[in-house]
Amino acid sequence: MDEPRIVIVGAGPAGVRAAEVLVAAGLRPVVVDENQRAGGQVYRQPPAGFVRSKKQLYGFESAKADALHRTFNKLRSYINYLPETLVWNCDGRQLDLLGRGQHQSLPYSHLMLCTGAIDRVLPFPGWLLPGVYTLGAAQVALKAQGCVIGSRIVLAGSGPLLYLLAYQYAKAGADIAAVLDTSSFSSKLQATFDLLKQPLAFAKGLYFLAWLRCHGVKVVEGVEKIAVKGEQKVETISWHKDGREQTLECDAVASGFGLRSETQLADLAGCAFEFSQLNQQWLPQRDQAGRSSVEGVYLAGDGGGIAGADAAELAGRRAALALLEDLGQTIDAGESRRLDRALQRIQGFRRGLERAFPTPVEWARECADEEIICRCEEITAGELRHAVDHAGTVEMNRLKALTRVGMGRCQGRVCSAAAAEILACSTGKSLAEIGRLRGQPPIKPMPVAAGAAASLIRETS
């Protein structure tokens, strides 16, 4: 049998742990990562020359971050590592890469997709103004650049990242004018049973909230109708609470409603998808170990369904064991059972998080026609609704063809969750019924010159 050609996409917690297991089994995977340094988003490392300690950068998670970075550094001479490299296509057991201006094609026999996630975004009036960022963006600014996104900042949305970021920002000395949570206290209370499946994580969440209250940070739960105003940048934010409108001056807003998996490469690799009620997103099918529907293609970490960094490390290990098993190697059955059990416990916690921080159900109905849904091409909710009312659109790709939503530079990463909510609400159908946007290469924009060179290489080879 030929040597397996194993490619891992992503050097976050899942990708690094998968590589570790494969190297321990005597294999030499290729690890492709878009970032400059390993760690993914959660354990993102600042550029060389930055001096804050890991404790300062990663807080409670600093030991895990440090362990992951150390593991990766030890692996470096046993893997082929391609940092700052975009995988922009996957076609017929071959990846197309663009790294540091160089194009290359990379054939694989086995592909481990550890592509991570981005913030789930729900548009609100003023969300295109300079000064409005995702929660993840605000965190990256602090962690990787030593900056905060403004001098008086409001955090708005839902999900655990809202409170973690508020704590990190306030602790670093930022002025947090308010934390606006669209979920209510009672939804969190109802979720306590599931949340207690990860008592340490639950305790950390309570600690962040208590810390914020102790330090006088304004926290408002059960917020509705968030709106940002300003001429050239953010000047005020307003919201409704118990039917009353309130307004605060601020110059920056970070917003997010949980996370969404990055699934474009799984789509191009031919993986079958199914609608996940828990994630409220179409996700590549996978078995408990991380095998996709396509032989030799595996999924691990948040890219295959949101479960967080601890689960990503476990899932990376588990999927690598599955890969070894599929290569005919004998694996430690006790180890794989232990990983499966740990992953199941985290899934229970994750269900609790969804109950505690539900996506606002009224959003699509209340979103005004003039609200811009697509940042790339400034397509409004009204244009999407028009396509439903006048063209009878009931499916996402049809909506895309008629309105161009999801066709811009971000390929629907930012807008597709909101566009799907609008389409489902307007047609009276469920998110599962309206389908999902098909992935298209290149999955991210690249300079035309590089693309032209790529096609030339293919034609002449």
Binding site: P47, Q145, V148, I149, E262, R409
Partner: protein, 98 residues
């Protein structure tokens, strides 16, 4: 006017670049986005509405921060490190590629 505020890591080496024709200073290890938004309010103008934009996700996913150099090169500000001598423009639509 600025958007971003530095609150740590300020002891790095200075890097000189040009922003809209004026000389400016960033710090080694800054992304282009950080370099620009610590001294300006936006990165580019939307090619649809003409309104200013300043990036959104900072992890190379949303593609909202493509800006232009004086010689027309597009670059994604959140994932490109500032280099000495870069000549950046904010008052143009930086989004189209190629």
């Amino acid at each position: 006017m600025t958007l971003f505020t530095r609150i740590a890591e300020t002891q790095r080496e200075p890097v000189s670049f040009s922003l809209d024709g004026r000389s400016a200073t960033a710090l080694a290890g800054d992304t282009v986005l950080t370099a620009v938004l610590t001294q300006a309010d936006s990165l580019r103008l939307s090619e649809f509405s003409g309104k200013p934009r300043a990036g959104f996700c900072l992890i190379g996913a949303c593609q909202d921060c493509w800006m232009r150099t004086e010689d027309g090169q597009p670059l994604r500000a959140c994932s490109t490190e500032i280099q000495a001598g870069m000549r950046l423009l904010t008052a143009v639509s930086g989004a189209r590629n190629g």
